[in-house]
Every structure is written in structure tokens, then in C-alpha cells.
């Protein structure tokens, strides 16, 4: 392990804490690269980042289950409330209320079905997952269900990729043994920030145009 890391650890900081803090810039850069090079959009950088760490905290299986329950409940409740013509804040509060109840039911049912892992997941990641729904719902309102659904799937894909990065032993070894690699991210992000090339998804989107260029 790197000397710097050892120094930090010797002050009583937990190794997972150090690891996660050092991982965050890598995941953030990964999300930026997905956007700029591949064209996977996601909801900004915060949502996929938090989702990644929530998945890490509760495990991918339960994380995904909880996410899907939240997403479906939120969407259904939004559609029901549409007819009541409520203002934004109270409407969102209602959505969160119903989702909270749904999660409570999920945990209970999970315990009943002997899925003890589900009942014992820590509360903070669940709270984070619940509050993320605001982003999803407001996008549905603003850009329509279709776009919001696409963005949700893309966000989910990035978060799952991020999750596998975090649990990858090779990556963990790299970060803890050579934390100086974090400096590379400066160069990578400056490059991404000035990159004006065509994104991978745009090759697909504009394929008919590309076919028609004759020069």
C-alpha cells in the first residue's frame, strides 16, 4: 500500500472510507467520459454517482430491486396525481410519501420471504434512493415520459458500470497502491472538456447523413 495511504490509515481513518473518497473522482470522470465519448446522457453527474455508491452500500441485487420499485411507484403516483392539479412541491411530497410506504412494505415482505439481506440493509442508501426520484419525476414532467425513461435506463447503466468498477479488486489495488494516478484525471478531464469529436451514439444517429457525405 502507498505510503500516503498508510499515513492516512495510521490516523485511524477507515480503509473503505479512504477507498471510496479516492474512487469518487474516478467514477465522476467515468460518467463524464460516457457522456462526451459515447453519448450516454444520464441525469447530470450527481444522480449516477450517488446511485453507484448506493448500489455499493446495499449490494447490486437489492439496490436494483429497491430502485425499480421506487421508479415504478413514482411514475404511477405521478400519473394518478396528474388529474388532481396540485402544485409541484406538495405533489412531490405526496410521491415521496407513497414511495416511503412502498419501501416499508417491500422490506416487510422481504423479511417474510426470508430475504434477510433486504431487511437488514442500512437506511441511508435507501433514503438516498428514495430522494433520487425527484430528479426522475421532474424530468418526466419537463421532457415527457419517453425521454425520462431513456435517461433513467442510461443512468442505471452508468451506475451499474460504476458499481462493478468499485468492487473490482484490480481497481481497488490500483487506487490504494498508487493514489497518485488521480493526477491523471486532470489531464483526462481537460481532454474530455475540449473534445469536439462525434460521439459514438451520434455515429448511429447521423448514419444516414454520414452515408450521404460525398467528399
Amino acid at each position: 500500500m502507498s505510503e500516503i495511504i498508510n499515513l492516512i490509515l495510521s490516523q485511524g481513518v477507515d480503509v473503505d472510507t479512504v477507498y471510496l473518497i479516492l474512487t469518487l473522482p474516478f467514477i465522476a470522470t467515468l460518467i463524464a467520459a460516457f457522456r462526451q465519448l459515447i453519448g450516454i446522457k444520464s441525469f447530470g453527474i450527481y444522480t449516477p454517482l450517488v446511485l453507484t455508491f448506493a448500489f455499493w452500500a446495499v449490494g447490486l441485487k437489492y439496490g436494483l430491486t429497491i430502485f425499480i420499485i421506487i421508479f415504478l411507484t413514482g411514475t404511477v403516483v405521478r400519473y394518478v396525481l396528474k388529474n388532481f392539479r396540485l402544485l409541484y412541491m406538495p405533489r412531490m411530497a405526496l410521491v415521496l410519501t407513497v414511495i416511503s410506504l412502498a419501501i416499508l412494505v417491500l422490506l416487510t415482505v422481504g423479511g417474510y420471504l426470508q430475504k434477510t439481506g433486504l431487511a437488514s440493509v442500512s437506511i441511508l442508501p435507501i433514503l438516498i434512493l428514495i430522494t433520487l426520484i425527484e430528479k426522475f419525476i421532474s424530468t418526466q414532467v419537463e421532457k415527457g415520459f419517453r425521454t425520462a425513461a431513456f435517461l433513467s435506463v442510461e443512468t442505471l447503466a452508468i451506475s451499474i458500470a460504476g458499481y462493478y468498477f468499485i468492487i473490482w479488486d484490480v481497481f481497488r489495488g490500483l487506487v490504494l497502491n498508487h493514489p497518485e494516478y488521480i493526477l491523471l484525471l486532470f489531464a483526462v478531464n481537460v481532454f474530455l472538456g475540449k473534445w469536439t469529436g462525434v460521439r459514438l451514439s451520434e455515429y448511429l444517429r447521423f448514419r444516414e447523413v454520414i452515408k450521404n457525405i460525398d467528399r
Partner: protein, 508 residues
């Protein structure tokens, strides 16, 4: 794969749009202006850009209570200032006698209904995240008759991208059932690429996929001529100058009474316009960056010259010659029946005028063949055109003559000398030599009309009955024309014929 990457360099992607065009050209102040409908209206009005009139603005509850409803015209649109995606727009179609109105769906709208709606706008029902908003009344655009069959409920508009005072690319946006009568592409509206030179639509897209017909009205979408085209481009350029946006998307609708009016200006114009035009935006932007463009007329001229598709009209202007495609419709005249005419002349002059005033004409498709020297016509067609007697006599006369490559026209002509004399000026002969040997053919001078120009063409008569085209037009008849092999032959018997469609037939 390599060419794919090379070709894609012309495409304007998100990264390049944001970094190379929006960032350096559109400053924050100008972007804020574009996002505020009422403020951008003020600026555009000052620049003498035609916009829908604003009949009134209601900013708060007090103004709502003292608003004079009687001052509103019979038809108008009620809009939230910062409404997103066209939500919260109420279209009022007509007025009743008792100060109530009728909506486009035929419902009665009272003052109370309007007040409720405006209160909703204040509360932020229609603006994103529920921030409070203000309401205004706007002139309703009257749908143009020519665009009516292509629109589902709403009003189509033309999106023009302007950069450096040059209209770079344009697209006609049509409302559909899926888009809810709105012309926004991301809602499912249809986008039609437009030839910037003449305002004629080319390709069509819906949700970024190429389509041919309108999803609701099933009409073919290419070839629609947008009226007031130059004016639309001029107005769009004015918007760029007035707004301070270097890279701008201007939405222009055409009112049946007032002509083009600007609906909206956009700082972040979408990229799908490239698919609708099947043309790369970045190449076009690169071509005009750095140019000094003096005025609107110059900007339009540059766009037409650089990005216009159909330049043939201009070539015709310069050279004075018509441009032909490979397949053209021609009119061919029947042989004048001299004897009959003189006979009838004696009988009844009036009658003759009625019958012989217009000589009989045939309309057919001909192949323009610059590889052939002489034009040629199918034997049975020539017979139908009144040359049956001559052709039969010619065939009879040369029946016993053995033709070989050593013979010349003079020797052969000598043998049928008396016949040639009898037939007169319009008839000649020719020897056609090919790898199969030589043939001796009759040549007839015929009056044909090609692309509106009447010419006298010498036609060799031969059997073309197993070929697609009964007539080919060779070099000697084409002196007055230019030939463009890529030109689609238009209006052949009222139908457009694509040259490639006939490829199989040509190969026969």
C-alpha cells in the same frame, strides 16, 4: 470503417456544437434573452422583425382584475411567458356575441375560464418546477392554405439556422397527432429538409428516422414549395443580428395574411436538422466562418451558392441552354399530309382550320444518348407518324442490295436515286457501321419538342421494338442543350420519373 470516421468529421455533434459554436458565439445575456419570449419580442420588434402581435400582458392578480376583456380581438392565443414544451397554451378560435369565445375544439370559453387559466399560469402550473410565471395574449397565426394538408391541428413553422449572417440550413416542421399539434421534433413532429436555394422540401424525418409520408395525412412530403422563401431567410438573418446570438435557430411561421412572422428564437438549436437535410452542418459552418457578410441579401446569396441543391436553373441562365436529364419527355409531330391538305383546301376552308390547325403530336419518353452521333427512331413508330409508305418503299428498294463495310453512302444512294428524288428534301440515308457490320438506314428530318424547345432532328429509322425507348436523341440534335446525367426527369406524363428506376430497362 476508416471512411466512416473521415466522413463523420462533417457532422456537427453535441460536443462540437456546444464547445465550438455555442460557447464562443452565444453569450449568457443573449441566451437569457432568447429564453424569455416577451423580452425577445421587444428586441425583435425594435429590429423591425415581424412577430405575432401582443394584445396584452397580465403580470399579477391586480392586473387580472382590472383587465379590459372587451379589448381582446375575436381570435387570439393565451400563453405563459416561460411555458415549456408548448404546455398551457390556449387557442381561441372565435368570439360569441355575449363576450365569450370558442376554442379550437369548439368549446365555449368564458371570461371566468380565461381568468382561471391565467391564475394557473401565475401559480406555475405550466412552467417547469412550478416557478411563478406571467401570461400574455398573442395574435393567432392563420394557417396557410398550401400547408394545411400537411398539418395536424397546429401551425407548421420553418426552422432556420443562421451563423455569421448566413442561413446555413433549414427545416420545415410539421405538427402531427403524436406531437399533439405542436411542431417540436422531440415531441414527435415531422421535420422536412429544405433546399436553401429555393425553399423546396427534400427528405423527411420523424423521431430521427427517415420517412416519406406524413404519418397522419399520408401525403408525400418531398417537393413542397415553401412560399415567401427569400423573405423567411431575410427575417431569420435579421433575428440573428438583433438578438446578439452568433449561432441561432429561428422559428418562422407563415401567416396567410401577414406572411412570415417569427415565433421564437433559440440559442441551442437541435442537431436533427442534419438528418432531415441529409447534409452535414459542420462542413457548412466551417465554409462560412470568417467570411465578412455585408448584408442579408449577401448572406442569402452565399447560402444559395454554397448550399443550394438545384443549381441547374442558374446554369440555364448563364449559358442560355436547357439542362436535360438522361430520360426526357418529347413531343413529336406527325408527318404533314400535304396531299390531303390541298384536297381539303378546295373543299372547305373552315373545316381545314379546325382539323389541321394543330398538327397531330405524340408524347413519348426518349433517351438522351450523348454516345450516339445520330438520333434514331423505331420503325413502327415512324410508320405510325405517317412515314409508312416511304419506309416500305425504302425496304423494298434495298432488299436486293448486299450491304458491306466497303460500300459508301454515295454508291448506295446512286442505286435508289429515283426514290430519293421522289421523297424530297426531308428524307436522306446513312450507313451505320458497327462491330456487327454495316446497315443502310433511312434518315428522316422530324420536328420534335424537347424540354420546351422545338428542334428539327434527323432520325435514322431502325427496329427498336425490343428496346425500352422508341427514340434516342444523339449528339447532333443536342446542340442547344446541356446534359446532366444526375438530373431527375420531371413531369413526364405528370409523373416524376427517377432515372435509377429505369436502370434495368436501360440495360436491356
Amino acid at each position: 470503417m476508416f471512411t466512416l470516421i473521415k466522413n463523420s468529421k462533417g457532422i456537427l455533434g453535441m460536443n462540437a456544437r456546444n464547445f465550438s459554436y455555442i460557447r464562443p458565439n452565444n453569450f449568457q445575456g443573449a441566451i437569457r434573452l432568447a429564453n424569455n419570449k416577451l423580452r425577445s419580442k421587444e428586441v425583435l420588434l425594435k429590429a423591425e422583425v415581424p412577430i405575432p402581435k401582443v394584445y396584452g400582458i397580465i403580470k399579477n392578480r391586480l392586473e387580472l382584475e382590472i383587465f379590459k376583456w372587451g379589448d381582446l380581438p375575436k381570435t387570439f392565443v393565451l400563453k405563459p411567458n416561460r411555458g415549456k414544451g408548448g404546455e398551457g397554451i390556449k387557442v381561441i378560435f372565435g368570439q360569441k356575441k355575449d363576450l365569450s369565445w370558442v376554442s379550437t375544439q369548439g368549446k365555449t370559453i368564458t371570461i371566468k375560464n380565461l381568468k382561471d387559466h391565467i391564475r394557473d399560469i401565475f401559480e406555475g402550473f405550466y412552467s417547469f418546477s412550478g416557478t411563478s410565471d406571467i401570461a400574455f395574449f398573442e395574435e393567432r397565426i392563420q394557417l396557410l392554405k398550401v400547408l394545411k394538408p400537411y398539418s395536424y391541428e397546429g401551425i407548421p413553422d420553418v426552422r432556420v439556422i443562421i451563423y455569421n449572417k448566413v442561413p446555413v440550413m433549414a427545416m420545415l416542421r410539421l405538427p402531427t397527432r403524436e406531437s399533439g399539434g405542436k411542431s417540436n421534433l422531440h415531441l414527435g413532429g415531422v421535420g422536412l429538409g429544405v433546399d436553401i436555394a429555393n425553399g423546396v422540401t427534400t427528405n423527411a424525418i420523424m423521431r430521427d428516422q427517415l420517412i416519406e409520408k406524413h404519418p397522419d395525412t399520408k401525403l408525400i412530403l418531398s417537393g413542397i414549395k415553401i412560399p415567401n422563401w427569400k423573405e423567411i431567410l431575410e427575417i431569420a438573418i435579421k433575428c440573428q443580428e438583433a438578438s446578439g446570438l452568433g449561432y441561432i435557430g429561428v422559428d418562422v411561421a407563415i401567416d396567410s395574411g401577414r406572411g412570415p412572422v417569427v415565433l421564437e428564437i433559440n440559442a441551442h438549436a437541435g442537431l436533427s436538422i442534419q438528418i432531415a437535410n441529409l447534409a452535414p452542418l459542420k462542413y457548412r459552418l466551417q465554409k462560412i466562418s470568417g467570411l465578412k457578410v455585408k448584408n442579408e441579401a449577401r448572406g442569402i446569396r452565399i447560402a444559395q451558392d454554397l448550399f443550394g441543391g438545384e443549381i441547374e436553373e442558374e446554369i440555364e441562365e448563364i449559358s442560355g441552354k436547357q439542362v436535360l436529364g438522361i430520360i426526357e419527355a418529347i413531343k413529336i409531330k406527325h408527318k404533314v399530309k400535304e396531299n390531303e391538305e390541298t384536297n381539303k383546301d378546295r373543299k372547305d376552308k373552315l373545316n381545314i382550320e379546325k382539323q389541321e390547325d394543330k398538327p397531330e403530336e405524340m408524347e413519348l419518353r426518349a433517351k438522351i444518348d450523348t454516345g450516339a452521333d445520330l438520333s434514331s427512331i423505331d420503325k413502327s413508330l415512324a410508320k405510325n407518324l405517317g412515314y409508312a409508305e416511304i419506309i416500305d418503299e425504302f425496304d423494298e428498294a434495298i432488299k436486293n442490295i448486299k450491304i458491306d463495310t466497303a460500300l459508301t453512302k454515295e454508291i448506295l444512294d446512286e442505286q435508289i436515286k429515283d426514290k430519293l428524288e421522289k421523297w424530297g428534301d426531308g428524307i436522306d440515308t446513312v450507313i451505320i457501321k458497327s462491330s456487327h457490320g454495316a446497315t443502310f438506314r433511312l434518315v428522316i428530318k422530324m420536328n420534335i419538342t424537347l424540354s420546351g424547345v422545338e428542334i428539327i432532328s434527323k432520325m435514322s429509322v431502325t427496329d427498336r421494338s425490343n428496346l425500352e425507348f422508341p427514340i434516342i436523341i444523339g449528339r447532333k440534335s443536342l446542340g442547344k442543350f446541356l446534359v446532366d446525367p444526375s438530373k431527375k426527369s420531371k413531369a413526364i406524363f405528370g409523373k416524376e420519373v427517377n432515372v435509377t428506376n429505369n436502370k434495368n430497362n436501360l440495360e436491356k
